[in-house]
Amino acid sequence: MIGGDADRVGAPAAAGIGLRAPHVHEVIDTRPPTAWLEVHAENYLGGGPALRSLDQLRPSYPISLHAVGLSLGTADGPNPRHLERLAALIGRVEPVLVSEHLSWSIAGGVYFNHLLPLPYTDESLALLCRNVDQTQIALGRQILIENPSSYLRFRDSPIPEPEFLAELARRTGCGLLCDVNNIYVSAHNLGFDAMVYVDALPRASVGEIHVAGHARNDADGLTILIDDHGSRVSPDVWQLYAHALSRFGPVATLVEWDTDIPTLDTLLAEACVADGLLYGARLRTSHAAIA
């Protein structure tokens, strides 16, 4: 087991932005006031200008690497070559956080490049624990595991997702990345209470929060929320975020925007909203400490 609170360095408990290709030059040139940056690790496993841009930004910003392709829920286990490449990237970038998802994306050698759903069973839990252990050993550090956005439930999935994540964190020492938008989207699509979900996550394990926008799609007369990261964070998600902060205290928070990417200023304005709510959470924490 690797990890535990003693190993957690983490990102600053402030708002950061997901750095996407259209903004890279502007961020390098203008160094906007954002507390930290997160990038998708798999976009930086090659060489060339992408990697050089991270080298340029590292002195100015803490960097978080968000992996999307390890497929920790795959029965075959993580690909050793992928772990090697990720470890080399971590050695070069020295990120403050490394994260992945509670999902799978590889089967029989096919990579779907999408976060596919898992049934939450004892078998899945044992597998996830094994794969997270293997990953943390290969990378030599703690990783955070993010709750997925869900569009279906399996018939046989007896362990509630937050309990599954809590047990995974307890057994492996991994941290948790609480994606508030994913909780909101899944709660709507699968019919559970988002606040109850947040309250069931183990407070001490949450090392990062994600917020993002989602879309509403009509499917045979039923509204399905799609986690498309293509718009502003909805008021309901900000409300759930505020609730998460009241439970977890001030935690490093990332604004993600991946489709219909707006101007950098619009993205930074969303991060300012998160910073405002984080400020409130910090005040509450210090008041609680004084009282």
């Binding site: 490049n113 049934p119 279906l152 499917a219």
Partner: protein, 263 residues
């Protein structure tokens, strides 16, 4: 519930257009059909991969129109789903797929344009290597030079086409002159693609230097590469070709072929 490995295999089949029943029988409908819920994931997978192909092959997309590109991408993804985790590494076999794709047959230049776009993608993401110092080669015994092999910069690709693919590519850039016309009968090209600074670039080469560099990139030794160049043009200037190669910082490593080129 079947073992996880089996569930994932059935889900995989359903996502790629195979039978859906084995996957959906374990899924709850919750107000929709289980098929519709699995279909949300299938839709996301295809949308993501199609967007990745569009990003790598924007000129092909422009040439065939976005809707037709979506159809070709859908067929390609089913037949050749990704085998690695990085989206920028997906699509190496798309040019060959297009060459055999019946609806594209009238556009004979299309696979070569796709090959150019793939080479530009490779150049963009290639590892950075330190150029080989010519002094290291100069110290080798002269009698060893015929067996010398040179590893070229990993961003380099050497392409040939019977079509004017460089002109086609340029005419389909966003800032191109909308009235520009490409004469498809204007002949083929010998191209070298590589990264310079942050940019993936290409330029035409004369046939002999192109044959020389192509042979070197296939790890042929200097004697074989020179032979290939002379086949193309018997006025090939070997010393100049070597000077150019090092001046352009194209070689990154060297070795010795075990073959005897004089045998």
């Amino acid at each position: 519930m079947p073992p996880l490995r089996e569930m994932q295999a059935t889900f995989c089949d359903a996502l790629l257009g195979g039978p859906v029943d084995p996957a959906v029988m374990h899924v709850l409908g919750d107000g929709l059909t289980p098929e519709a819920r699995v279909d949300i994931y299938r839709h996301h997978v295809f949308t993501t991969l199609t967007a990745a192909l569009q990003a790598t092959f924007p000129v092909v997309c422009r040439l065939v129109h976005e809707r037709f590109f979506g159809y070709a991408a859908d067929q390609y993804i089913r037949a050749h789903p990704p085998t690695g985790p990085c989206l920028f590494e997906y699509g190496s076999s798309f040019p060959a797929f297009l060459a055999g794709f019946e609806p594209c047959r009238p556009l004979q230049y299309l696979p070569d344009v796709a090959q150019l776009e793939w080479a530009l993608n490779v150049a963009t993401h290639a590892d950075e290597k330190v150029p080989l110092d010519l002094a290291k080669i100069s110290r080798l015994p002269v009698e060893d030079l015929p067996r010398l092999t040179l590893r070229l910069d990993p961003s380099v690709s050497l392409l040939t086409s019977a079509w004017p693919i460089a002109q086609i590519w340029r005419a389909n850039q966003l800032d191109a002159d909308a009235n520009a016309r490409v004469d498809l009968a204007s002949g083929g090209v010998f191209l070298e693609v590589r990264r310079l600074g942050d940019d993936a670039v290409f330029r035409p080469l004369d046939p002999a230097p192109h044959a020389f560099r192509s042979a070197l990139s296939r790890q042929c030794c200097l004697a074989e590469a020179t032979g290939a160049a002379f086949e193309s043009d018997n006025a090939f200037d070997l010393p100049q070709a070597l000077r150019d190669l090092f001046a352009e910082r194209l070689a990154v490593d060297y070795g010795m072929s075990s073959l005897d080129p004089t045998a």
